[in-house]
């Protein structure tokens, strides 16, 4: 006799009806729950944005079905893919068996689950059932044995029992499914098949039982399995399992705008749940509590009172409260209740959290929206207030006269044009730090000499340049951001240039991504003309406009600036520059998209030191570089980084072991134009009383000629 699927074997007929009745009830509860959830999202404001169906579908398949964004964590990827696809295949299997039995057989008199097809069906379900159990086992081991800190989140909206319930019920469903299969095979009333290897193996265990006992036990197990499955499905919208729906929906609705373009929020910021957009509320529900953001967060790692997952989960809890109270999103009325101010100010907006989030939650955007409310209420850190007042009044955060912006050019021995008057090829948007910070002016001049050496036609906006506003915006001062953007756009609009270069990744980010009013064409320039100097230096070396005359045999490590890497995806150009100079690049464990913030972003640079933290993020980063062993230079491509890390090597006492250098300084050293790049003239290294760093002397190995050896090495 040919094997076939006997779906309701050994169950009374009434049980079949009961199944359908229960199934209907389950679907109704599930639908009501989903309706309740979706209604919660509707408490949010509208969110306009570009609509790209193709990108959305690609993201859904890639990140939803195949969970691509987990790929940096192989354990999590394996675990989650096994649970997800195990459940999906088993659910499909159940549906197929139902169709086979109660549709095609009942109405059309034929079964397709028979013979070879049935064997394959059994084998596939057994395999995926095993994968499910393995995945669940891994999850349980990780959560309850290994217990990583990131999974212990204090703000979990429904308590940690939610995770235990989810893992427990799925395990119960999988195990009872196999036991039922084993009992069914053990009775011998089915054709015994090794195509269901797990059931077959279990059948051997049940062999000592009488057939009657097997059948009775089977009925209990079958009911338990069915009831557990219905319970699970009905509970999906009310438990953590809802991420099965909310996460893919969130991936689908993620607006395909550049990560560096912060959405314009309400002028008065987010003071209550209803001040977020519906898509932000959807994100709150999409959180899977995985805690990856917490693990990646530099503020959390160094003892600041911020864990991005807590922010999200606390808001999710408030969303539920708001929904229960009146359904109109007025449940919360002050910013303090949404998140403590010290938590909001702890964020460096480095985007590490967003980068690792498997379901693409935009934590920094939530934080900035709440900061906007604090700023609107005038509740800002003293240092931030000074910086904002200075920018309002003088156009720079240093509180210096705008006339001093170009003071660094006074001692410059190469010409630099006034882009307000003369047409230039390259407009250099210098930025506040490179212009005003005494420690950085030498590097700024070095960069100017490199541009000159490469034969570039460069000009600056002099005092017409204002702070670009990137950090102003991330502090939450949207009005001031708009003001400086207007002034800069006005100055840029009056200048004639082909490209804009800047050394500051923050400036680069906002010029490239945010100097365009929403939905409008940029009146002053095409964002594509904005380039970062690391990219320009790479281009100049590649085109032999800058020719290395000596090979720099340094062992270096490179710090990816957040606003260059994570925000704008520029990782390779600075590395190609380092390769072209002949340096040996040793990567820190956290590099590329996983780079660890220096702690200056999002206006943190302007804030006072936070008491009680373990260490500053920049110090943690320097320790990471020191742990590499024999690396002698820490290369940066951001003016703020230079200041932050030069301070950090001093505070960790590593001045004699690690030298913080700007990418331009190394290029200058290799191309022989860098008087100021020489260590003996660097005030930070040559200060009296400070021992000369052992690695400070350049060790150029003169090579016969600039040969092809120095050509760009790809990475």
């Amino acid at each position: 006799m040919e094997a076939f699927r006997d779906t309701f074997w050994n169950t009374p007929h009434w049980a079949e009806y009961a199944q359908y009745a229960l199934g209907t009830l389950t679907v109704l509860i599930f639908a009501a729950g989903v309706f309740w959830r979706v209604n919660k999202w509707r408490l949010g404001r509208a969110e306009p944005g570009p609509w790209s169906l193709k990108e959305r579908i690609v993201s859904l398949v890639r990140n939803g079905l195949f969970q691509w964004r987990l790929s940096s964590d192989p354990f999590a990827t394996a675990m989650h893919l096994m649970i997800f696809w195990g459940m999906v295949l088993l659910a499909i299997g159940t549906a197929v068996a139902t169709v086979d039995w109660d549709v095609t057989k009942l109405f059309f008199g034929f079964q397709f689950l028979k013979g070879v097809t049935y064997h394959a069906f059994e084998l596939i379900l057994d395999i995926f059932g095993v994968l499910l159990i393995l995945g669940l086992g891994m999850a349980m081991w990780r959560r309850y044995v290994r217990r990583p800190a990131r999974l212990a989140t204090p703000e979990v909206p429904r308590g940690s029992l939610d995770s235990a319930y989810l893992l427990g019920i799925l395990m119960f469903i999988a195990v009872t499914g196999f036991v039922a299969e084993g009992l069914r095979i053990a009775t011998g009333e089915h054709i015994q098949t090794a195509w269901a290897p797990i059931g077959y193996g279990l059948a051997g265990l049940f062999a000592p039982m009488s057939v009657g006992a097997m059948k009775t036990t089977y009925q209990f197990v079958w009911w338990a399995h069915a009831l557990a499955a219905f319970t699970f499905i009905a509970s999906v919208p009310f438990t953590k399992a809802f991420h099965l729906i909310s996460s893919p929906v969130n991936l689908f609705f993620k607006t395909p705008t550049p990560p560096g373009r912060l959405a314009t929020g309400l002028e008065e910021g987010a003071a209550k749940i209803g001040d977020f957009t519906w898509r932000q509320l959807l994100q709150l529900d999409a959180c899977t509590w995985c805690g990856k953001c917490q693990e990646a967060c530099p503020a959390h790692a160094t003892g600041f009172p911020l864990a991005p997952n807590n922010v999200v989960q606390r808001l999710d809890g408030l969303l539920s409260t708001a929904a229960k109270r009146n359904g109109k999103g007025n449940g919360q009325s002050n910013g303090q209740a949404m998140a403590p101010a010290e938590t909001l100010w702890a964020c460096c907006t480095c985007r590490a959290c967003e980068e690792v989030c498997p379901v693409m939650i935009e934590q920094p955007r939530l934080i900035v929206d709440m900061r906007r409310h604090l700023v609107y209420q005038g509740e800002v850190d003293e240092g931030v207030q000074d910086a904002l007042m200075n920018i309002q009044r003088y156009g720079n955060s240093f509180g210096q006269s705008g006339r001093k912006r170009a003071e660094w050019t006074k001692d410059l021995d190469v010409p630099i044009k006034d882009a307000r008057k003369d047409e230039v090829d390259l407009l250099w948007f210098v930025g506040d730090f490179a212009s005003f910070d005494q420690r950085l002016r030498d590097v700024t001049r070095t960069t100017a000499r490199l541009f000159h050496q490469a034969g570039l036609d460069v000009g600056i906006l002099q005092q017409a340049e204002q702070n670009s506003g990137n950090d102003v915006r991330r502090v939450g001062e949207e009005g001031l951001f708009e003001l400086v953007r207007e002034k800069n756009l006005d100055a840029l609009g009056k200048a004639t240039f082909r490209r804009i270069v800047t050394t500051d990744p923050h400036t680069y980010n906002t010029l490239k991504n945010e100097y365009i009013a929403d939905g409008e064409e940029n009146p002053a320039f095409d964002p594509a003309v904005v380039i970062h100097y690391a990219v320009l230096l790479d281009e100049l070396l590649r085109d032999r406009k800058l020719k290395p005359l000596r090979r720099l045999a340094y062992r270096v490590t490179y710090h990816d600036p957040c606003y260059l890497g994570r925000y704008n995806g520029i990782y390779d150009a600075p590395r190609r520059v380092l390769a072209a100079l002949g340096t040996k690049l040793v990567e820190m464990p956290r590099h590329g998209p996983n780079s660890f913030c220096c702690g200056a972003g999002g206006g943190r640079l302007w804030m006072k030191d936070t008491p009680g933290i373990e260490e500053r993020p920049a110090e943690a980063r320097i320790r990471e570089a020191l742990a590499l062993g024999d690396v002698e230079m820490f290369v940066v491509a951001c003016p703020k980084d230079l200041g932050m890390f030069q301070d950090a090597v001093k505070t960790v006492g590593a001045e004699d072991r690690l030298r913080v250098v700007d990418l331009a300084e190394l290029v200058a050293e290799a191309t022989e134009s860098a008087v100021e790049a020489r260590p003996e003239l660097r005030p930070d290294l040559a200060a009296p009383g400070v021992p000369r760093p052992v690695t400070a002397e350049p060790r150029p190995e003169r090579i016969a000629q600039a040969t092809d050896e120095q050509q760009v090495e790809g990475d």
């Binding site: 700023v375 005038g378 509740e379 904002l388 309002q392 009044r393 001062e477 949207e478 009296p688």
Partner: protein, 255 residues
């Protein structure tokens, strides 16, 4: 409680101050102006009293410098009325004349409390507060650090030389010269200032200049001259830093 606050414009010291050709006054033509710091504290103190005890706050300012922006900023902080005293020329009047104009504008308000910064960096002796009190016929208490309103009326914390503090009960009406508010002036976001620009009306009143004899005549104004032992450090940043380091070593401060 009715509070009147005086907001003065002072030259912004971010730019070097120049002296006019005659050598007895500042050249204000090229100067930029901003609100006097202790007046800003006076305004903050008024807003804090308004928030804690309830009050109306009227601001009075002379029309020169960047006064409009100062007033819009005050409006964004939540004051009730903005009085701008227009001048016949756009130069700041001497303190005595200014006091007369301010008294003329403040008198009709019948304020219980007049708050003014106790000093301004372009003013001799911090005279405006006391002279204004004299013109209004009110008592004056200066160098005040924080004013609180309680059940027993108003209390002011006055600072004496040597950091000696005294808490005093203030009989209203009075003029208080504020050195610092209870908390530093709050930040006013640009969006609020922009909104104030659209919605705020100034109450403009002409300032009638009374012919008055100046109380103090400035004979000569000049930049500080280096004393005998002073060494002015000049040169690039690196040179100056190097010289400072040398001096510290020479004097044995750093070894």
């Amino acid at each position: 409680m009715k509070i009147a606050v005086v907001l003065r414009q002072v030259p912004d010291l971010i730019e070097p101050l120049e002296i006019v050709g005659s050598g007895n006054a500042l050249d204000l033509d090229g100067a930029s102006f901003l609100v006097n710091e202790s007046d800003d504290h006076a305004l903050e103190q008024a807003i804090l009293l308004k928030e804690s005890a309830g009050a109306t706050v009227d601001v009075v300012a002379l029309d020169f410098g960047d006064v409009d922006n100062t007033l819009y900023s005050a409006a964004a902080k939540g004051v009730d009325r903005l009085i701008k005293i227009t001048l016949e020329d756009d130069k700041p009047p001497a303190p005595k004349a200014a006091a007369a104009m301010l008294a003329q504008a403040i008198g009709p308000i019948e304020a219980d409390l007049v708050l003014i910064g106790c000093q301004a960096h372009d003013e001799l002796q911090g005279a405006l507060g006391p002279v204004l009190a004299l013109k209004l016929g009110l008592p004056y208490l200066g160098v005040v650090r924080g004013v609180t309103a309680g059940d027993g009326g108003l209390q002011a914390c006055k600072e004496f030389p040597g950091a000696v503090m005294a808490r005093m009960n203030v009989q209203l009406p009075a003029v208080l010269g504020i050195l610092a508010a209870e908390s530093p002036p709050r930040y006013v976001p640009v969006s609020r200032i922009r909104a104030a620009m659209k919605s705020t009306q100034f109450d403009e009143q002409p300032g009638a200049a009374e012919p008055t004899e100046p109380a103090v005549v400035v004979r000569r104004m000049y930049h500080p001259e280096p004393a005998e032992r002073a060494e002015m450090l000049v040169g690039s940043e690196a040179e100056v830093a190097g010289r400072i380091a040398d001096i510290l070593i020479e004097r044995g401060i750093v070894k």
